[in-house]
Symmetry: C2
Subunit: 210 residues, 2 copies
DNA sequence: ACTTTGAGTGTACGCATGTTCACTGATTTC
DNA sequence: GAAATCAGTGAACATGCGTACACTCAAAGT
């Protein structure tokens, strides 16, 4: 390597290439789905020869798993931030809707990846995503269980609400992702939809348990 | 053609081959997703030489669209039958849960196809599925609007409930599809989950509108 | 009877793919 | 400053792909 970053320490340059490969795979996946992206396409797009790919990932499957990890670390940061937000205690629903739409907007590509590959990806990737989503449901349940109106619910009920919330999140992420660019009005509409659906879940639950 | 069906009338034999191609594509899609299935794989599996494929479909995309059509005709038959069932008037929710699980079990492959290719398929297929699902939401809304407890709701509300029901149907179809074979206990669990979620939607809606 | 039609065949082509191997040369290690 | 390391190179391969083309030979049309 002599032109793009001459004096980069070796490890840093390697990491940069690794990120270029990850970013390329993520971008190419958006157009055709991860499973249709070839090792050569990714390498080409990352500005690297196909054989160099193997210095970073054993196979395309491993690349896929790395993308799953990256995507969920984004998601986890989102829930951790939301937990610190005092507004969440007053009004989970509006907060969640805001956070969701904002997070999806910020890292659209990662959400798109999860939504798409959850059902459409190679089997190892699908399995990994399912596992991460299950974990995420449990983590969200912990957050929800601390909330004022919920603290005396059974843990099964909390788990179910959490599952419904996550399912909703995935559905709405799908919608935001499939949304044509430059239509912020639609985005507001989706956010409003998400809000109403979450309210529905909470209201329905409260009434049914009484 | 001389061995497999010597004296078949020409048109009938053609139709039979066409169905073999459709069935092959459906089966192969389950393992790898439709987009990874090649024209040659389908032809091979259908017992036909690759070039013969073109006598039936212009391209793999067209095959995909034919599968979408086939899948939704299954779905439509299901809703039409359910509409005749008097039980539906008494208890939409249990009826819907039964019908859903039963229908999915009967034509698992078609539901799997829709659930998978809705987000993971080639763009033309995705678009077609979205369109069909939108239509289906509207059709279901018509059915729902006739129901006793719903007849005085606004049509917007009915449309939204219908959308939530269909979203739920897709989600649950995904679960049934991803379900390991020979575990009827899980199936009952999914059915119960679907029932609870639909009840949630109806209860939530009723209470919020008052 | 004889001609036309058209579903299915077989060969052949150019192209993209995943993986192999021996290599280069700057950075790191000593 | 010599030696070792290792990210990235470039040529070569076998394989599977979509499609073009000329073909066969029963069934359908006359």
């Amino acid at each position: 390597m002599s032109e793009s970053a001459q004096s980069a320490p070796r490890q840093a340059q390697k990491e940069r290439t690794r990120q270029a490969i990850l970013a390329s795979a993520l971008e190419l996946s958006q157009e055709q789905g991860f499973a249709q992206v070839s090792l050569r396409q990714v390498s080409r797009h990352a500005g690297v020869v196909p054989t160099a790919f193997y210095r970073h990932f054993e196979s395309m499957d491993q690349l896929g798993l790395a993308l799953v990890e990256q995507s969920f670390s984004t998601l986890r940061r989102m829930i951790r931030d939301a937990q610190r937000d005092p507004q969440v205690f007053d009004n989970i629903i509006d907060a969640a809707a805001d956070v969701l739409v904002e997070a999806v907007k910020q890292s659209k590509a990662h959400f798109a990846f999860v939504a798409r590959e959850r059902v459409g990806g190679p089997e190892v990737v699908r399995t990994a995503i399912r596992h991460e989503l299950d974990l995420f449901v449990s983590e969200l349940a912990v957050v929800l269980a601390r909330l004022p109106n919920i603290e005396n619910w059974s843990s099964d009920d909390v788990q179910m609400v959490s599952r419904l919330f996550v399912r909703n999140m995935v559905s709405n992420a799908e919608e935001v992702v499939e949304m044509p660019d430059g239509r912020p009005d639609l985005e507001e509409q989706i956010k409003e939809g998400a809000r109403r659906q979450m309210r529905l879940i909470v209201v329905g639950f409260r009434d049914w348990r009484s």
